[in-house]
């Protein structure tokens, strides 16, 4: 039964991901992106990382997708639907990605030796605990990064009067 759930989620992720990349209209592809992220959130729940799934839904789908939509709205009105969304190097790029994929698959088959023995999932308390103890430096540092991003966005985005 659990395998079935996984297969459904995996199929959804792959399907939507391909759609994001190949859809003509940029707005449609942002919708497909939202669907992909939601299925990934589902995968997290499947992998007993509920907190992560919720964060994924909130931050990614809620935040970033809306950002994209705003950006598309701000810039999309000039481009009509008919413009081809992919450039000349599609075939060659596709070939490269296939080779890359083959290499990765070839490598992965060797390395992952079947399912590891189960250990109980990480509890939220453990997550929080390690966040402020072992990984306190990245935690603090990420704040500086986000601040910089915000200031940068304002500095460049502001349209001086």
């Amino acid at each position: 039964m659990a395998e079935l759930v996984f297969f459904v989620i995996a199929a959804a992720i792959c399907f939507f991901a391909v759609l994001v990349v190949t859809s003509h209209d940029i707005f449609h592809s942002s919708v497909w992106l939202a669907m992909t992220l939601l299925s990934v959130a589902g995968l997290y729940f499947y992998l007993d990382a509920p907190f992560l799934g919720v964060i994924q839904v909130l931050v990614y789908v809620g935040g970033i997708i809306t950002l994209f939509v705003f950006a598309i709205k701000l810039t999309a009105h000039i481009g009509d639907k008919s413009i081809v969304q992919t450039n000349r190097q599609t075939i060659f790029a596709g070939l490269c990605c296939l080779i890359l994929f083959a290499l990765l698959m070839n490598m992965l088959q060797h390395s992952c030796h079947g399912p590891f023995p189960h250990s109980e999932p990480i509890s939220l308390k453990q997550l929080g605990q390690s966040l402020v103890s072992v990984y306190v430096l990245p935690f603090e540092f990420i704040s500086l990064l986000l601040l910089a991003a915000m200031v940068g966005a304002i500095a460049i985005g502001r349209d001086k009067k």
């Binding site: 995996a10 994209f68 992919t86 349209d159």
Partner: protein
């Protein structure tokens, strides 16, 4: 539980789709979306490895949390830059940005 290799294969596929997206989308925002896909592929990997490893530390999940945060920051900066160049009269199609070449 399903074997780890399936999940890793899934993330590899997602990664490759992302790479394909970055290489072929003409629209700057489309490229951004593909980058998001790559980051998610990495996230899946991290969470999966963390779940399947017998260790008790939460490195994988912590890392993916940070990745999400960085993804957010990255896309903010990216979109701002795209809008800035859009305002400068250039289109958002990447193959038009050839002011500086040779």
């Amino acid at each position: 539980m399903i074997p780890l290799s399936y999940i890793v294969a899934l993330s590899a596929f997602l990664f490759c789709v992302g790479v394909f997206g970055v290489l072929t989308r003409r629209n700057a925002i489309g490229i951004l979306m593909s980058v998001e896909l790559i980051l998610n592929a990495a996230n899946i990997n991290l969470v999966a490895f963390n779940r399947y490893s017998n260790g008790t530390d939460a490195l994988g999940q912590v890392f993916s949390l940070f990745v999400i945060a960085i993804a957010a920051a990255g896309s903010v900066v990216g979109l701002v830059l795209i809008i800035a160049i859009y305002r400068n009269g250039k289109s958002i199609f990447v193959d038009k940005y050839d002011l500086m070449k040779w």
